[in-house]
């Protein structure tokens, strides 16, 4: 069974901005599927169409076997949706927000409390605080509780971790794994490439087009170059000097390291590369081959497009 099916979806805003170009993918029941890519790539447009808040320009989309255009009202009762912008009531308290959403979906908090308990526990100390006064991470946790309180069959999470600190982000993903165990299908979007590996399958998306769909492992294995890393003292000054290099390779800073992708037999280019560094008086520790991350894959797919 498929929880979501999308075929050749197009969305053009105001007759001129093409937000989605022929997007097709499916999400199986029980899967955590990630839409991974930068902001402005069309992720929120897909969510808005699936949540029946926006009509597609052309193409088909169905959610839990119902059509997003004809069966909008039924779909709305079945899904939980966490929008990309904070959409709770800032003037209601944490608890009031949860009661409000439970009531809107005609469900009772106590029936589904076990589902949200691990997250709700962290919110209890703030339950009388107004939602608008919560920190970013806490706001997202409350929004997740509100999206889950009617135990939806499908959870749509549009950038739940944007602007959230790395520790809270990891916590959030642990929560998602638990939700999946309850049999709930999750479609989630993120601009953070490191979160991709927490999904069963991902679609890399940029400028309204899907550039790759697969499991994170398969995407990383399909990497075409030979990827190496070196530690240098100042990545950006080294980057400047590397502009002089006269053979094809792709290099970019990666934290304290520099990643270099070669597209020829690495043994030969590697020597050339090292002698170039020495000529330029660049101090470096050894070059070592590494497995690409999803971020490396994204960079490769976009640069070699």
């Amino acid at each position: 069974m498929k929880a979501i099916e999308i075929e050749n979806l197009n969305k053009i805003y105001n007759n001129r901005v093409q937000a989605l170009s022929d997007v097709s993918f499916y999400v199986s029941e029980g899967e955590v599927f990630g839409l991974v890519g930068p902001d402005g790539g069309g992720k929120s447009t897909i969510f808005n169409i699936l949540a029946t808040l926006l009509l597609p320009t052309s193409g088909q989309a169905s959610v839990l076997s119902r059509d997003v255009v004809n069966d909008a009202k039924i779909i709305r009762q079945l899904i939980g949706y966490l929008p990309g912008v904070f959409s709770l009531y800032p003037d209601l308290t944490v608890e009031e927000n949860l009661i409000f959403f439970a009531t809107m979906y005609k469900s009772r908090i106590k029936d589904n409390l076990p589902l949200i308990r691990p997250i709700w526990k962290q919110l209890v100390p703030f339950k009388d605080r107004r939602a608008g006064k919560l920190s970013g991470g806490m706001k997202q946790k409350l929004a997740l509780c509100c999206a889950l309180i009617h135990k939806p069959a499908l959870l749509l999470l549009d950038e739940p971790t944007t602007g959230v600190d790395p520790v809270s982000r990891a916590e959030f993903w642990d929560i998602l794994t638990n939700i999946q165990k309850q049999g709930i299908t999750v479609l989630v979007s993120t601009p953070y490439m490191d979160e991709a590996t927490r999904c069963d399958r991902i679609a890399l998306i940029q400028e309204g087009k899907i550039i790759k769909i697969d499991t994170p492992t398969n995407i990383m294995e399909a990497y075409r170059g030979f990827l190496y890393t070196i530690k240098v003292e100042n990545v950006f000054s080294v980057m400047e000097k590397l502009k002089e290099i006269d053979f094809p390779c792709n290099y970019y800073p990666y934290g304290q390291e520099l990643h270099i992708a070669f597209y020829e037999v690495p043994e030969i280019v590697l020597q050339k590369f090292c002698s170039f560094l020495r000529e330029q008086n660049i101090k470096f520790e050894e070059l070592s081959p590494i497995q690409p991350t999803i971020e490396d894959c994204f960079i490769e797919l976009v640069k070699l497009k």
Binding site: V17, G136, T162, F236, S237, G255
Partner: protein, 239 residues
Amino acid sequence: MYSIVVENLIKKYNHFVAVDNISFKVKRGEIFGFLGANGAGKTTTIKMLCGLLQPTSGNATVAGYDLKKDYKSIKKNIGYMSQRFSLYEDLTLYENMQLFGTVYGIPRKILKERIYESLDSLQMTEKANSLVYSIPLGWKQKLAFATAMLHHPQIVFLDEPTSGVDPIVRREFWNMLYETANKGVTIFVTTHYMDEAEYCEKISMMSDGQLKLIGTPSELKSKMNVDSIAELFQKIVNR
């Protein structure tokens, strides 16, 4: 020579201590990464340093001006770029820069030159008369940074400038910061990307209103016996 000197800065909201007695210095021309968990007090601190919020006690000098007495001069001598909505989507690139440049009191003739100079180095001259909403997010963030720099501030404050930006443009953005710092401009930046924290000359970490750590990334990593800033962050925040 320091661009920012903070001494025993405290900000309380009723009984809640948002910033709890922090002290630090930022050198001129340094890229200073201001890290911390959500709700740790980063935004409150930045607001104080920009002269938008008065501290409960303690003091700071920013660009040589006293936070309590001279906060109006601080505003004129710093640049500020927020995470989003810093530009007007329905104005053109040129109009946005003209608006902000005029607010900062740059004479019209000089402003025009600076705008074109700046658009030129961004390779966006052709888009000068396009509306901002029509350009990609990464471009917008580069443009917002250039706009914050039009009045040639000594310090620029950047609050999560690369949030949601694609991995290639994120790196180009940091290259811009690096070049700007090399010209002697102090960069005060917050980020939730831990790889970006590694690009800073100095970083600090805030948790529960307190400044837990400050130093160069390599100093702190060896001191705390971790391999990356990401690990360091986890250690500090979980404490």
